[in-house]
Subunit: 480 residues, 2 copies
């Protein structure tokens, strides 16, 4: 048993946390998940929705205590954490509704004279390994989008707790486990345990939210398995924001203040943080952004000691690469505080990797046709224009849709609404699976694969494909 | 310019074929595809359907000449090749209908008070590299499912011709290219040209049909790119068929004859060939299958000299690993003929890789619970039972749906119907992307990714998401 610790970012002080999982504990969790898989897959969408709603109820009933515990471990403050816990419960209820609605099963019944009968449905992949993120202890933690959508899709889940919030992870697991069938939800802890989890032959998919380094490491590990499995790694990106000429002329102060609020929210610890503001040459947005940061002077702490150190070295690297400090404000006192900073750059080429934390770049452009092709794949991108008649907006939206999973006009990429219309993902290297989303109704698809049943008698068909449609799901019926 | 040759499998004689593509010819083809990508993506589903239908018309108008040319290169005989050409044209018309129907765009419009407006749609990935197969010169060739579905999805295509039918590939390209916009369809030839194609930064996805070795090599190559792209490799598998006790008791001769017909069809050169028949211990299916093969005595030629050599060495390896020859029949005269063979094995462990060609195994089982977990991921699997009351069938269908993309009862895996209900794919290592299909309406999804437009004004939205719905596509409208 390896000891583990829970740290308070405000002071750096630690208290004991649940121990890291031994190899046999990982194997036991996966064996339980594999044993539960047939029952979880056989449970009706209604039953699965019931599990998710029971978890949502437990989250709501314990919201304040959970947020307080989270705040001890991540120091994001009670308003943010209480709100995030509330939204996590709402997300579980949303996915319960998605599960019930049933279109994610993509059921097809195709019949016709003189041809085989084809019935097709999405089936669960099997046990899913979930690696939670540091920065959203509720939204992308033990009870985040990955866990909810895997259960909704009919897959047992083994979560690897994030070391930034081990006590909260244990508390979330303790309240949720009784709401799901035995083996449908397990929790492990520790880096080595996580590696063992991904290598386990019974694991069928991996969902991860976090850094490029961490996500790509898991992707490479899974690609080296004998049976290669999908890795859905949603990773931090630079998320460029383009200001048009009219936007700079008409809305400069609003844009400057909005940019600062967005890139410093949660101390910049958002995978959708707008890391780069592209402004027309000759605009005074650089100085307005600098003033807005100085006026706002946000303070807070980084999630972990490692993240605080990476932030400091990241800002130093940006400066060494030629970025100029436009403004920097005083850090909070003590612990893993960090100084919010905005930098000016003359060319974007060397500055296209995410620096996690409250830093962002402002770059002037003269020709967007030269700049836009340099932008890497991102989760989101935004355009700030000068009103509904701004002639630059349509072309920019089209160009940015080529590099981002979500394109926003006159808004900021932080804040990811949970719904049917959400895409939280984006071209490589924003995610390792750009055709999928980790938030919204589409997120169930990550844990499913299609199977066609050809000339299979009624008694051997899965419920969603039987003529009497016991699950009551929508189906495409085709007569050939 | 590297010379290339077209070979007649019946004699081994060669005639000149179109030269292999030089590096600059590959780059020119990809540049043309990249230049065409915006226009292809902007074309309405109706326009794309028009291209596909024009290609189908051209296939139909030239069917007999094309089949004759194909027969000179692959020696599969005029009835098969004429039928395959006809089915290829029908598939293009099917995908034209799928394109027009529009549900593949998965359009969502989500609005509500106090929240951002989200509009989501599937957008084309960009230029697609298609690697055709040797064994289906029409169905998986220059004008096969990959090309049709990539164009339907709005992606330009660069096909790498298969060296088994270079003259047919050139003829198919010549008749199809005028039906598509400039740059939307290109053809290259040669192994090195294919490698260069996959590495080209403007290529966004790869579709491949063929061997494990070839598919996994492309998958590894694409994974080493700076921007990793999806590889849809659909590869040959063992495709097990399980005979129940009642099936063996009641339908033995029918099963034996059907098995022989299926595994020797097209000289066993099908990725869905049933390579393994699992029969209850004590049944006499081994001898009945041997007799059925001896009675049928099918004759033909392998597609290429290399495939003929691989077949001979593959059968020798199976025998060296302990397989007993139950029956083998005389090969055709001359050229790359091969001897159809059925082998008996006592344990399936060493025999779970595909041997491409007219060979299959018969294995007796006493406990299916021991045998089934050994079966690898396969494109298809089948159960042969003893009638509608056979109590073994439901459990077997459920078990086989865990390892196959398609499960068939009382039928054979060869023969893949094109439709809305088809899944042609399967768990690793049947394909490198088990959540996708290379045949049927779902095949378009391989070449699309979702983009969400948040608070984007009407003038900047893609057509499928505008309020006036100019493409007339089905949409999910959600009021939050």
């Amino acid at each position: 048993m390896t000891e583990a610790w829970s740290f308070d970012p405000r002071t750096g002080r630690s208290v004991p946390a649940p121990a890291e999982s031994a190899p046999d504990e990982v194997d036991t969790a996966v064996a339980a998940a594999a044993a539960a898989a047939p029952a979880v897959a056989a449970a009706s969408p209604q039953e699965r929705a019931g599990w998710l709603e029971a978890i949502a109820d437990a989250l709501d009933a314990n919201r304040t205590e959970l947020a307080a515990l989270a705040d001890e471990e991540v120091a994001l403050g009670m308003p943010r954490l209480t709100g995030e816990a509330q939204r996590a419960a709402a997300a579980f209820r949303f996915y319960a509704g998605v599960a019930r609605e049933g279109s994610w099963l993509e059921a097809v019944i195709e019949t016709g004279p003189g041809r085989p009968e084809l019935r097709k449905v999405q089936v669960p992949l099997g046990p899913v390994a979930v690696f939670g993120a540091s920065n959203f202890p509720f939204g992308f933690g033990v009870l985040g989008h990955d866990t909810a959508t895997a259960l909704a899709a009919g897959c047992p889940v083994v979560v690897k707790a994030h070391p930034a919030h081990p006590r909260l992870s244990a508390a979330l697991f303790a309240l949720a486990a009784p709401a799901a069938p035995p083996g449908a939800l397990s929790l492990i802890a520790g880096y080595d345990a996580g590696r063992r989890l991904v290598d386990h032959p019974a694991i069928s998919a991996v969902a991860f939210t976090g850094s490029q380094q961490g996500g790509l490491a898991l992707w490479r590990q899974a690609a080296a398995r004998e049976r290669v499995i999908p890795v859905y790694a949603e990773m931090g990106t630079v998320n460029a924001v383009v200001v048009t000429a009219r936007g700079a002329a008409r809305r400069a102060d609003e844009i400057a203040a909005g940019f600062v609020a967005s890139f410093t929210q949660g101390m910049g610890q958002f995978c959708t943080k707008p890391g780069l503001l592209l402004v027309p040459a000759g605009s005074d947005l650089e100085s307005r952004v600098a003033r807005a940061l100085t006026d706002a002077a946000p303070q807070g702490w980084m999630l972990t000691e490692r993240i605080a150190a990476s932030y400091a070295s990241g800002v130093a690297s940006l400066r060494a690469a030629g970025a100029r400090v436009l403004a920097t404000t005083a850090p909070a006192d003590g612990g893993w505080a960090a100084a919010p900073t905005v930098l000016g750059v003359d060319a974007i080429g060397p500055f296209l990797e995410e620096c996690f934390g409250p830093v962002a770049l402002v770059a002037s452009y003269t020709d967007l046709a030269e700049v836009l092709p340099q932008l890497p794949g991102s989760l989101a991108a935004a355009v700030h224009g000068g009103g509904p008649d701004d002639p630059e907006v349509p072309g920019l939206v089209a160009a940015l849709s080529g590099i981002a999973g979500r394109v926003i006009v006159d808004g900021w990429p932080t804040g990811v609404v949970v719904g049917w219309g959400q895409q939280h993902g984006g071209p490589w290297p924003a995610t390792t699976a750009p055709q999928h989303t980790s938030v919204g109704a589409g997120a169930l698809r990550r844990f499913l694969r299609p199977v066609t049943y050809q000339d299979v008698p009624a008694a051997a068909l899965p419920p969603a494909l039987r003529d009497d449609n016991p699950w009551g799901v929508p189906r495409r019926e085709v007569r050939g």
